[in-house]
């Protein structure tokens, strides 16, 4: 079946602009995660959704970052007043989370490469 998809694959924007990044998880997956991967680093946790609610948003770096998942499927990561330091690859992952303990396999999307000029 279809995997996790993310759009756009690339986004170039100017400092101060607003951007939205979209994630379509695998159908039926209740858990959804956003990560940020800067050049030469491992992915950094941003936020975790269980269904429609953000169960853990402790990784969001500041209040310019916000994410929603209104119907428990597609999620959008929103970044206001973008800064050059926001440039990174933003990854989305989903899992079925059947065990409820976060040990189910996370399936990652290809990522959105965000460049802030």
């Amino acid at each position: 079946g279809a995997g996790v998809s993310q759009t756009p694959s690339n986004k170039v924007t100017e400092k101060g602009k607003y951007v939205e990044l979209r994630c379509d998880p695998i159908s039926g997956h209740t858990a959804l995660y956003w990560y940020r991967q800067s050049l030469g680093q491992g992915p950094e946790f941003l936020i975790y959704f269980q269904g429609t609610g953000a169960a853990d948003d402790s990784g969001l770096p500041n209040d310019r970052f916000f994410a929603v998942r209104p119907e428990g499927s597609v999620s959008t990561l929103k970044i206001q007043r973008t800064e050059r330091g926001d440039s990174a690859v933003y990854l989305c992952a989903s899992s079925s989370d059947r065990s409820g303990g976060g040990t189910d396999t996370q399936y990652f999307g290809p990522g959105t490469r965000l460049t802030v000029l």
Binding site: P43, F108, G111
Partner: protein, 113 residues
Amino acid sequence: AQSVTQLDSHVSVSEGTPVLLRCNYSSSYSPSLFWYVQHPNKGLQLLLKYTSAATLVKGINGFEAEFKKSETSFHLTKPSAHMSDAAEYFCVVSGYNFNKFYFGSGTKLNVKP
């Protein structure tokens, strides 16, 4: 707090020789541990995971890892490297509530013919 240290940023081996990618973790409880692989221009893929069952975990493509609590290590091994193994590998530890995951900085594996 939880953290992961991947001891080598780059590892180079010859095709057909063993692979060892080292990972140490820090955790105040018994975490779940994972290894993911990232091929160029492809998404992260799970290789294997440890979730408090057998300490020797077998994964895909001939990889395995051993959880050693006394050494707080979870090293990834493969007996014989293949050219297709060239990629970046990430060691991951789960957070206390198992909903948050901490990635290491990655190890790039180069396989020479």
